[in-house]
Amino acid sequence: MEENSNTAMRSFFQMRHVTRKFGGLMAVSDFSITIERGELMGLIGPNGAGKTTVFNMITGMLRPTAGDISWKGENITRLPTHLITARGIARTFQNIKLFADMSVLENVMVSCHYPLDSSFLAAMLGLAKHRREEKRIREHSLKYLVEAGLAPFAFEKAQNLPYGLQRKLEIARALATEPGMLLLDEPAAGMNPMEKMELAAFIRRIREKNGITVFLIEHDMKFVMNICERIKVINYGQSIAEGSPDEIRRDPEVISAYLGGASRAQG
């Protein structure tokens, strides 16, 4: 017991025996994972395996039926989403959930919202303090747009952007919350090989520059094997393997879960 809690304290991010039931259906069962600071972790599994459910539980959108989640030593299992974001875990969504009718810049500005210094009264009275803060938020947000290469589109409505740029915006606004860990839900979906390469480079860059830990869900095997240092495999809500890309590639359980008969036919 003592040792477990100490391990929890030392671990950057940890999920322990997390389970999620929907009525009779076990969406996720006894899922545990430890992620260290600065890691590039992948979560893969067949469709419907429970990957997004795991993300939803981490970010407080779903409550685990059992188990707990800790981040930097704090138990975040029952925290509401916005507080988890404030604590430093941000995410993108599988189906892009941008603020469609708002401009690209405004989408990022929303992320700069929570550590607001000036009160709403200052806003309504138009005080200088408020105007200064608005300026700061604007400049801060523009920085993220520049980094993502979206600055030329700052005043376009988010819904008018081409798909690839929308995905970039998803990531940019998550980054603007200045997270310690970034959860990416199928970031490469719908991208061509060129865009995927750019994305991989981008992810590595944010890890190097900002020291952000990345935990991503992906279907594209090549992408995951290429970029992730460690991979966790989940099937029918249960963890079936964990390890380096090479280990996962050779794990018989993973192969049978994913590829079924194909590899047997080949090999």
Binding site: F22, G23, L62, R63
Partner: protein, 295 residues
């Protein structure tokens, strides 16, 4: 309070509840499939009452022809209401649908006001429903006893349709998964029309009985019963037909008994109903028959 009085109020409560139940079914069926609160539903009572009245007074039809005709006409009006006010907004955000429903409700009420006038008109109650049974100290209008019976018969008929016919199966499927039902090749438009037809007809039946119970009808008579029936539907679990019936009876009983036991608070009667609604929505929004929310 004497036993006789209590018994009388009990019967009144059940009777009132049966009227609420019939109206509540319409709300719940439409909400189940379209996720729409049909604000204009309560006004259908009013239409049926006026139709029934004019059938008797203007066209000299006997009540057993005029009333069913009124019910059918109102049922058809329900379909028309959907076609005009809700169908164009199937893909629109929910707020638009609600606004359209509110607009339709106000339109119907004020159209009736313009065409018929706001002065309450007396409803021709047939003697068949009108004589009073005396049992000892108990004085009961025979309508009060007929209402729950008629309601039960209608509900049984409805349950048969919903659970034993193909159309009913389609309705149940549509309330569970709208898109999948369409993909199965089922003509959703017809199912929706059927839903409105049934729901509106039941509300019409209730409207006629309501008019016989409180024989002064006016263009706004459907507002309060409509809202109370909605509360009943929510209490029972919105989307659930049995729940709507249960909720209707429960609300009718509570309303009569609370007023009987605490006559000083009679004025606050309507406020109670709203507070019950708010309470249910906050603490058990899925109602009696629904499943508790997992989150």
């Amino acid at each position: 309070m004497s036993l006789t009085l209590f018994l009388q109020q009990l019967i009144n409560g059940v009777s009132l509840g049966s009227l609420y139940a019939l109206i509540a079914i319409g709300y719940t069926m439409v909400y189940g499939i379209l996720r729409l609160i049909n604000f204009a539903h309560g006004d259908l009572l009013m239409v049926a009452a006026y139709a029934g009245m004019y059938g008797v007074l203007l066209f000299s039809l006997p009540w057993f022809i005029s009333f069913p005709l009124a019910v059918m006409a109102t049922g058809a009006l329900g379909i028309l209401l959907d076609r005009a006010a809700y169908k164009p907004l199937r893909q629109a955000p929910r707020i638009s649908l609600l606004i359209s429903a509110i607009g339709a409700s106000f339109l119907m009420e004020n159209l009736a006001l313009v065409l018929i006038g706001g002065v309450p008109k007396p409803f021709p109650r047939p003697d068949f429903f009108g004589y009073v049974i005396k049992a000892g100290d108990l004085h009961i209008l025979v309508l009060t006893i007929y209402s729950p019976i008629i309601t039960l018969l209608l509900v049984l008929g409805l349950l048969y349709i919903v659970f034993k016919t193909k159309a009913g199966k389609a309705m149940r499927a549509a309330s569970l998964d709208f898109e999948a039902t369409r993909l199965m090749g089922i003509n959703l438009d017809r199912i929706i029309a059927l839903t409105f037809l049934i729901g509106s007809s039941l509300a019409a039946a209730s409207g006629i009985m309501w008019a016989m119970k409180y024989p002064q009808i006016n263009p706004f008579m459907g507002v309060i019963p409509g809202f109370k029936a909605f509360i009943a539907a929510v209490i029972g679990g919105i989307g659930n037909i049995v729940g709507a019936v249960l909720g209707g009876f429960l609300l009718g009983l509570c309303e009569i008994l609370i007023v009987a036991l605490l006559p000083d608070l009679a004025e606050y009667r309507d406020a109670f109903a709203f507070l019950i609604l708010i309470g249910v929505l906050l603490f058990r929004p899925t109602g009696i028959m629904g499943e508790p929310i997992i989150q």
